[in-house]
């Protein structure tokens, strides 16, 4: 059977889905353990960082998917990530300057969703160029 280059292959969905499922479970476990109050200091830090382990698996799934892309899909992703990289830098630095003049400090958790949105927007713009 010939190799098929669909936009979102089944294998990627399975790998990423499994990683995210484990992430959700470990996150719940981490929150539960921290709420018990048994962990303090360095041990609490380690428990809080537990959900990053399945995140490494998610990163591995994303990298594997990148290696499966064909040359045009790779170019579209490069342009999308370049857009997201530059856009996130612009927004995060701009907001950092605003925090310096009294704007409310934002959590580090806000950075990645911003980059993800810009990645999608960049992907749509890049894909349209080659349609």
């Amino acid at each position: 059977m010939m190799k098929c280059f669909s936009p979102i292959p089944r294998r990627y969905l399975i790998e990423l889905g499994a990683a995210m499922l484990v992430y959700a479970l470990v996150l719940c476990l981490s929150i539960f353990l921290l709420k018990t109050g048994y962990f303090d200091g360095p041990s609490a830090t380690l428990v809080a960082l537990l959900p990053t382990l399945p995140c490494i698996a998610a990163c591995w799934a994303v990298l594997r998917q990148f290696r499966r892309l064909d040359e045009l899909q790779m170019r579209v992703q490069l342009e999308a990530l370049g857009f997201a990289f530059a856009g996130t830098a612009l927004l995060s630095f701009s907001y950092g300057f605003l925090e310096g003049v009294g704007w409310r400090p934002l959590s580090m958790f806000t950075v990645w969703p911003v980059m993800a949105v810009l990645w999608v927007v960049g992907g749509v713009i890049a894909a349209r160029r080659y349609r």
């Binding site: 010939m2 280059f5 064909d70 040359e71 045009l72 899909q73 894909a127 349609r131």
Partner: protein, 63 residues
């Protein structure tokens, strides 16, 4: 870069999906090359030539 991919594909009665499977690329990539929105790499151009059984210069024209 100008090319005759669409004509050659039509002559053989292949769909874009079928050609994409033969070339091991996405259908969108075939579409982009046919519409001259994207110039393929040299290895892909050679795969296209091999798939159609033609020399590269019979498929692609220099700008």
């Amino acid at each position: 870069m100008k090319n005759h991919l669409k004509t050659l594909r039509a002559e053989r009665g292949w769909s874009q999906t079928e050609l994409a499977e033969r070339l091991q690329v996405s259908r969108q990539t075939v579409n982009a090359i046919e519409n001259e929105r994207y110039d393929p790499s040299l290895p892909l151009a050679f795969r296209i030539a091999r798939t159609f059984g033609l020399p590269i210069e019979d498929i692609f024209e220099a700008p």
